[in-house]
Symmetry: C2
Subunit: 226 residues, 2 copies
DNA sequence: CTTCGACAACCAACAGCCTCATGGCGTTCC
DNA sequence: GGAACGCCATGAGGCTGTTGGTTGTCGAAG
């Protein structure tokens, strides 16, 4: 999880970097608007923490430039300018959160965490598990007792829907909505096919009876991952 | 843009509903944890504003239930419990933002706006334009002087990258990173092919010379949409 | 000025995969 | 038995990305 901290005051910058690094982030630091825009555009960061006062301009300027250039990275403004008016201004200019100084370190961490959690990151691989089975969202791969295979995008979407609702029965309509979108127009049997594909692939790596049919209702994962 | 407001105090609830409706949101309101979870799971909302104190439990409970059930909707907690400790707790439980009472209406609007802006909504169709050309993100369609065609997912991703950086030159590496992801392993010539596809499709609907080549540098959209 | 080589870009063609519809078959329930 | 439901094989069609040949551009040498 990579973070860009933009803060010109050396003492605070060191503290911020140390704080985030203690919590497992990879942190880069900049001091100027120019560098911030340059590095922020690289798309390599999961979040940018941006101070308001910088030697070559203010943070809003960096914010504006990044957003106009299409930078999608979530940005948290961190500043002493902390009137509601300032907050509204920053948020409307494209900031995702706005925290006034002085701040509580835990709150900063929690807010950055919320932003990072919300943003589908390319660097963090979400992992869903169910018994012995593991589904990796980044590589779209499924592992069972050490054996691995890759899923196609529809297969993956279907398995993801089942895994995110383990212990629940999913109706055909619910599954179709999840995999093909809420207003999809596919034949009902397309779901049959992908259930079939998934079962075959799962069986190939030793996961027998991965998906159980509840006749007339829908499908669910095997209650025990075993 | 649809909002769910969960607040049991009638006076404040009315004010919140009125506030958001004045700013163009479609607002539903609930008073209980039970209803909030029920309605929140419908996936129909772009954001949920959740009060802490509710008659049948606290907001954290609703939050937890929604998140455990896989609800992806951004949630803003709105509460009188406003110690840093409370904020950290709420954020770590899955809230996306946390605003203490009393709050400034504009700030609430700005924060909800930031959440909604960040979340890819199914209800709002983003539209990018460049001169006479219009790219609709929802339908992945491209329109030029009234004539429309549909793009495949790669074609769309490429056109989107170009449109989001109009007036800029995009290098081959930048485009490949945008279309295939930052660490893609595709041959350079794949980009050639899709540039070719796009140009052909654009020409079909009358958009001549849509994409200009800058030899040795990269590609850009035709400076004037015309 | 012309020629040549290197290189970038363009484009056609193709193979492989993903997606999904069709339709036959088996199973379950009334 | 028959109807409804689910399972599975097959195949068409679209999307993707590679290969390889052609064209165009630039710079250096003749």
């Amino acid at each position: 999880m990579r973070l860009l901290v933009v803060e010109d005051e050396p003492q605070l910058r060191r503290e911020l970097v140390a704080l985030f690094e203690r919590h497992g982030y990879l942190v880069d630091a900049d001091e100027t608007v120019f560098d911030a825009v340059e590095h922020g555009m690289s798309m390599a960061y999961d979040c940018i923490v941006l101070d308001y006062m910088l030697p070559d301009g203010d943070g809003i300027e960096a914010l504006t430039q990044l957003r106009e250039a299409g930078c999608p990275t979530p940005i948290l403004m961190l500043t002493v300018k902390n009137d509601p008016k300032d907050r509204v201004f920053g948020l409307n200019k494209g900031a995702d959160d706005y925290l006034g100084k002085p701040f509580h370190p835990d709150e900063l961490l929690a807010r950055v965490g919320a932003l990072v959690r919300r943003t589908p990151s390319l660097s963090d691989e979400e992992v869903l598990t169910h018994g012995k089975a593991t589904l990796r969202t980044k590589s779209r791969s499924l592992e069972y007792e050490g054996r691995t295979l890759e899923l196609t995008s529809k297969e993956f979407a279907l398995m993801e829907a089942l895994m995110r609702h383990k212990h629940q029965l999913m109706t055909r309509d619910q599954l179709i909505a999840k995999v093909w979108g809420p207003d999809a127009e596919v034949a009902d049997s397309a779901l049959d096919t992908y259930i079939y594909f998934l079962r075959r692939k799962c069986a190939n790596i030793g996961w027998k009876n991965a998906i159980v049919t509840v006749r007339g209702r829908g499908y669910a994962l095997q209650p025990e991952g075993e």
